[in-house]
Subunit: 169 residues, 2 copies
């Protein structure tokens, strides 16, 4: 499998997981939190899932250190949380506690160990923001008792992407 | 269609066209020329198509201004043509004239007008390198009489990627 093949599979897995997450939170109130904007492609997909013409409208907040997305994919200023994730999330911890229906984290540095280390740092910052039944979709493993791993959509191989649901422990 | 959707479709189209190109040149002698290395994903795919264990081995030459690919995807120094495409191609024009079985150009700047302008500049530099029956796969349109547009693989929409075959005019 070439790097082109595996990149396509990863993007397909990401999209399938986001689409599934949208179904999973259909019955929940809550906002969407995109952890990292990057080029804005997944933010654009989230807009389609949660702000399209025939869907339930949700606020989408985006954390990003430095906006470098396509101009069409820059969130409104009042939905943008500027700064390193480890600094930006604590700033909204009281405001967003228990109000996030879907959080999405795609670290995507290509350095698996660094991604995993960042995920571990972010866990205690993100998990308290999820509402009961809220969903976390992520590239790295998010390993904590409050996050129950969910089955992946058809065609997504184990470990290629991750889906979790918040549960009381 | 979100930008994530369209990006996935573009990558799938690119892969399908490269795979088809490999079939199309199966009966030809000649080298492969990758015009732009980028992150090295398509170069890695070309290696799989032309330097894998069960395939006909071909030299792959890569033009790139500045190598910034994944370390696993950096071509050997003697297969790397450093410099701007408009300067690197003339340097190999006599060496490679009529010897390229497949040329692949993915400008991929996201700026369609700039991509098209570069493609027009590159046409007179690339076309003379193709061997009779040689194939050009490209992101931008390559509009010249010597390049006959070929049908795209199943599932690839018209204009999403391009395949051409060299013909005498």
């Amino acid at each position: 499998m070439s790097r082109l093949d595996s990149f396509i599979r990863r993007l397909e897995a990401q999209r399938a997981c986001l689409n599934r997450a949208a179904e999973l939170i259909a019955g929940l109130d809550g906002i969407v939190l995109e952890l990292g904007l990057g080029n804005g492609r997944t933010y654009d997909h989230l807009r389609e899932l949660f702000q399209g013409p025939d869907v339930r409208w949700r606020d989408i907040y985006v954390c990003e250190r430095q906006v470098a997305a396509h101009p069409d994919c820059v969130p409104p200023a009042d939905r943008l949380l500027l700064g390193d994730l480890r600094e930006a999330l604590p700033r909204v911890s009281s405001r967003f506690a228990g109000k996030v229906a879907l959080a999405h984290l795609d670290v995507g540095t290509g350095d698996a160990a660094a991604n995993q280390a960042l995920a571990a740092e972010l866990l205690p910052l993100v998990v308290p923001l999820l509402c009961p039944g809220g969903v976390m979709a992520s590239d790295p493993v998010m390993d904590c008792p409050e996050l129950q791993p969910l089955p992946l959509p058809d065609g997504v191989a184990e470990g290629r992407y991750h889906l979790y649901r918040w549960r009381a422990v």
